[in-house]
C-alpha cells in the first residue's frame, strides 16, 4: 500500500518564517513522492487551525504526517489527539524540530539553514515511509497494594501519603515495634524475593516464621540507615559512641551527657566514600546549639571535613560559634583517630592551623549514619542497582529523585544516603505519593515503541537479558529470547547489542536510522 503523507509547516514563531523560505519548503514537499497534502499553519497548536489540518487529512485519507515545527516536547498533545480523530496512528506522526535544530542555531547563515531544513524535510519523508503503525495496550493491576519496606520515619510518612491516594499499604517492619499508621503492619518481616514488573509484582515475604506470597502494585524502600551493624574503625574503638539522633533523643529526656562532647561527621573517615550529607551539618549544628543552651559548661567540638551550612543553616553556624562551640575542620592528611587503648582522646589534624589536636571527650557522637546492610538483600530481591556506598541507587536524579530505575519501585530516606529525619520524612511522603499515584492509575500502559525478537535469528546467548536494566527480555518456552513488553521501556539497548541482530525496536529500526542519516548526508550545506 502506498503511503499517504501530509506535511504541515508551522510558522507560529517569528524566527522560522524570518529565516527560511517557507514557500520553497512547501514546493519541495508537494513535489515529493507520497505527499498528498501540504499545509502551512500560523499556529499549529491552536485548536481551529489544527481542526482545519485534520479535516484535510480526513478528506484525503491521510495515514501518516510529517510536522515541521519546534521541539517535540513543546508541541501540544492536542496534535496527536486531533490526528487520532482522523484515524492517523500516533506513532506515524513525525515531528521534525526545525526551529531549534536549524533556525535558532544558524541565524547568520540563511542559505545553509534553508538547505539544512530541506534536507531535514527529505529525511523525515524518507523515514516516515518506513514507519509502521503501533498500538498501545493496557493491563489491569491485580492489587492496590503498596508494600513499604521499613516502618521508620520515611516509611510511616510514605504509608500516610500512599493511603491518601487510596492504596492499600502493607508495612514490613524488621523489629516488633507497634505503630499507628494506615494499613497492615507485618512485624519481624523481611523481603526475600520478587518477580513481575511495575504494577503487578509478586513478592515473597518472611513474616515471623512464615513465608508468604504477596501481590503488590508498587514497592517503597524505606530501610533507613544502618546504625546497628556499624563496623567502622572509630565506632570499634569507642564502644559507647552514639549516633546523632540517639544522642539528641537522650538529651531531650533530660539526661546530661558526659562532657566534653565531640560530634564527628562520620564513623568511617578513612573509608573510600566519605559522605558528609545534609544529616551531618544541619542536625549537628542544631544539636550543638541545644546542648550549649541546656548545659553551657560542657565543651562541644564539631569535627568535620566539609560543613555545608547553606541557607538559613548559616545562621545556626554563626549562632553555634558565638555560643562557644569549637569547629575543627580536617582533611585527608589528618583523619580523626582514636587509640582503642585510650578511648577518651580523639586526635585530629586541624586543617586551618596544621596542628594535631588531641581532644579529650566524654561522649563521641557520629553525625552521619552508614548504609543499611539490608539494602543488599532488598536490592538483590528486587534486582535493582545499588550505589557505590551501599545505598539504593535512584534513577535519573532530575526526573525521579525518589524512584529507582525500575518502574513501580520507589525509594526514600536514608536508604539512599544518610539524611536528617525531617528530610527523610519529606522524602517518604514524596515516595508514598508517587507510589499512591502509580497505583491509583489502576492500569499499566505498555506497548508502542518496544523491542521485538525475531525468534528464528535468536541464538539464546543471553546478551539482551544481561544488558536490559528493566528485565524485559527472558528466555521463553521455545528456548529463544522473548520481550516482556509490559516491562520494556523502549530504549533499544538490547537491539544495539544483540550479536545476531535478532531484536528490533519498533519505529527505530536500523533501516530507519541509517536512511535518515543517509538522506541528511546527501544534503549540501
Amino acid at each position: 500500500m502506498k503511503a499517504k503523507i501530509q506535511v504541515v509547516l508551522c510558522k507560529c514563531c517569528t524566527e522560522v518564517p524570518a529565516l527560511l523560505d517557507i514557500e520553497k519548503l512547501r514546493k519541495l514537499a508537494s513535489e515529493s513522492n507520497n505527499v498528498l497534502s501540504v499545509r502551512t499553519a500560523d499556529a499549529m497548536c491552536d485548536g481551529k487551525e489544527l481542526a482545519a489540518v485534520v479535516d484535510e487529512a480526513k478528506a484525503k485519507e491521510i495515514d501518516r504526517a510529517v510536522v515541521l515545527a519546534c521541539h517535540k516536547k513543546d508541541i501540544s498533545p492536542g496534535l496527536l489527539k486531533a490526528y487520532k480523530r482522523a484515524r492517523v496512528n500516533e506513532f506515524l506522526v513525525d515531528v521534525v524540530n526545525i526551529r531549534e535544530e536549524v533556525v535558532l542555531t544558524h541565524v547568520n547563515e540563511p542559505e545553509r539553514a534553508q538547505a539544512k531544513a530541506e534536507a531535514k524535510l527529505k529525511a523525515a519523508l524518507a523515514r516516515s515511509v518506513l514507519l509502521s503503525p503501533l498500538e498501545k495496550q493496557t493491563e489491569e493491576m491485580k492489587t492496590k497494594n503498596v508494600v513499604i519496606v521499613g516502618a521508620g520515619v520515611s516509611g510511616q510518612a510514605a504509608a500516610h501519603e500512599a493511603a491518601k491516594a487510596g492504596a492499600h499499604t502493607v508495612l514490613l517492619e524488621k523489629t516488633g515495634k507497634s505503630l499507628k499508621v494506615p494499613g497492615v503492619i507485618l512485624t519481624h518481616a523481611q523481603l526475600l524475593g520478587a518477580s513481575g514488573y511495575g504494577g503487578n509484582f509478586q513478592l515473597r515475604i518472611k513474616a515471623g516464621e512464615k513465608i508468604e506470597e504477596l501481590g503488590a502494585a508498587a514497592v517503597v524502600i524505606a530501610t533507613g540507615g544502618g546504625w546497628t551493624t556499624l563496623k567502622a574503625p572509630l565506632a570499634k574503638a569507642v564502644k559507647d559512641a552514639l549516633p546523632l539522633y540517639k544522642f539528641y533523643e537522650q538529651m531531650q529526656t533530660g539526661v546530661a551527657p558526659r562532657g566534653p562532647v565531640v560530634i564527628v561527621d562520620t564513623p568511617d573517615p578513612s573509608g573510600k566514600t566519605m559522605k558528609v550529607q545534609d544529616y551531618a551539618w544541619d542536625d549537628s549544628l542544631e544539636t550543638a546549639i541545644d546542648l550549649k543552651k541546656k548545659s553551657p559548661d560542657i565543651q562541644v567540638y564539631v569535627v568535620f571535613q566539609e560543613m555545608r551550612a547553606s541557607g538559613l543553616s548559616e545562621l545556626a553556624y554563626k549562632q553555634a560559634a558565638d555560643m562557644g562551640v569549637k569547629f575543627v575542620r580536617y582533611d585527608k592528611s589528618g583523619m580523626p583517630k582514636v587509640d582503642p587503648k585510650n578511648p577518651t582522646v580523639l586526635s585530629v589534624r586541624d586543617f586551618a592551623q596544621g596542628e594535631i589536636l588531641n581532644l579529650k571527650f566524654g561522649t563521641l557522637v557520629f553525625a552521619s549514619i552508614p548504609p543499611n546492610q539490608d539494602n543488599k538483600v532488598i536490592a538483590d530481591a528486587l534486582r535493582i542497582p545499588m550505589s557505590v556506598d551501599g545505598g539504593i541507587r535512584r534513577g535519573s536524579i532530575q526526573r525521579w529523585p525518589v524512584s529507582t530505575p525500575k518502574p513501580g519501585i520507589f525509594v526514600c530516606g536514608s536508604a539512599l544516603f544518610p539524611k536528617s529525619r525531617a528530610v527523610a520524612k519529606e522524602e517518604g511522603a514524596a515516595a508514598g505519593a508517587m507510589a499512591g499515584e502509580f497505583v491509583r492509575r489502576g492500569v499499566i500502559d505498555y506497548g508502542g515503541v518496544v523491542a521485538q525478537v525475531t525468534q528464528e535469528k535468536c541464538s539464546a546467548c543471553l546478551t539482551c537479558i544481561r544488558t536490559c536494566p528493566y528485565e524485559a527480555p527472558f528466555i521463553g518456552t521455545a528456548s529463544k529470547a522473548e520481550i516482556k513488553i509490559q516491562a520494556c521501556q523502549g530504549c533499544g539497548m538490547c537491539v544495539g547489542i544483540c550479536p545476531s541482530k535478532a531484536i528490533e525496536l519498533h519505529n527505530h529500526t536500523d533501516d530507519q536510522i541509517m536512511e535518515e542519516s543517509r538522506v541528511l548526508l546527501g544534503g549540501d550545506f
Binding site: 535558532l104 532530575q398 526526573r399 530505575p405 536494566p469 533499544g492 539497548m493 544495539g496 547489542i497 542519516s517
Partner: protein, 138 residues
C-alpha cells in the same frame, strides 16, 4: 573555489542529549551548520553499523551524544553507547581511518554550553583530517 563544508553526523539520544542541543539553541548559541542530528531513543540503541554506514555515506566525522553516565534516563544506556563507540573506533583504526573522527560525548539536559563545544570540536577534527581517503571518490 569555496571552502569545502565538512559533513558531520550526530546521533543524539532523545533524552538529555537532544535536550542539551535544544537548550543551547534556545540560549542563542550559534553552531556550525554542517552537523546533521539523528535522534535515537537512547545511545544504547546506536549500533556499530549506524556509525560505519554514516562514514560510508560521506560523513567526515560522527559523534554520539548521550546522557551523563551516572544520570542516564535509561540507567545504563550511555555506558552501553560508549562501549559501542569504542568498539567502532577500534574497527576504524583497523581499516586505516583516523579514530578521532568518531567520538562519544555526554551531557546533561541543562548543560547549554556542552553542545556548541562538541560541535566545534568535531568541526575542527573534520577540517583537520579532511574527507576520508583524501577526497577521491571511492
Amino acid at each position: 573555489m569555496a571552502e569545502r563544508k565538512p559533513k558531520i553526523v550526530g546521533f543524539c539520544c532523545e533524552r538529555h542529549g537532544m535536550d542539551a542541543a535544544v537548550l543551547s539553541a534556545r540560549s542563542g548559541k550559534q553552531t556550525d551548520a554542517s552537523v546533521r542530528l539523528v535522534q535515537v531513543p537512547c545511545t544504547g540503541r546506536v549500533d556499530g553499523i549506524h556509525l560505519l554506514k554514516a562514514f560510508e555515506d560521506g560523513a567526515d566525522a560522527v559523534f554520539v551524544l548521550g546522557c551523563l553516565e551516572k544520570n542516564c534516563y535509561y540507567d545504563t544506556g550511555s555506558i552501553e553507547g560508549r562501549k559501542r563507540v569504542n568498539y567502532v573506533k577500534q574497527m576504524l583504526t583497523e581499516v586505516g581511518i583516523e579514530n578521532e573522527r568518531l567520538e562519544m560525548f555526554n551531557a546533561a539536559s541543562t548543560n547549554a554550553w556542552a553542545y556548541p563545544e562538541i560541535v566545534s570540536k568535531m568541526v575542527q577534527v573534520a577540517k583537520k583530517l579532511g574527507p576520508i581517503g583524501g577526497g577521491e571518490k571511492q
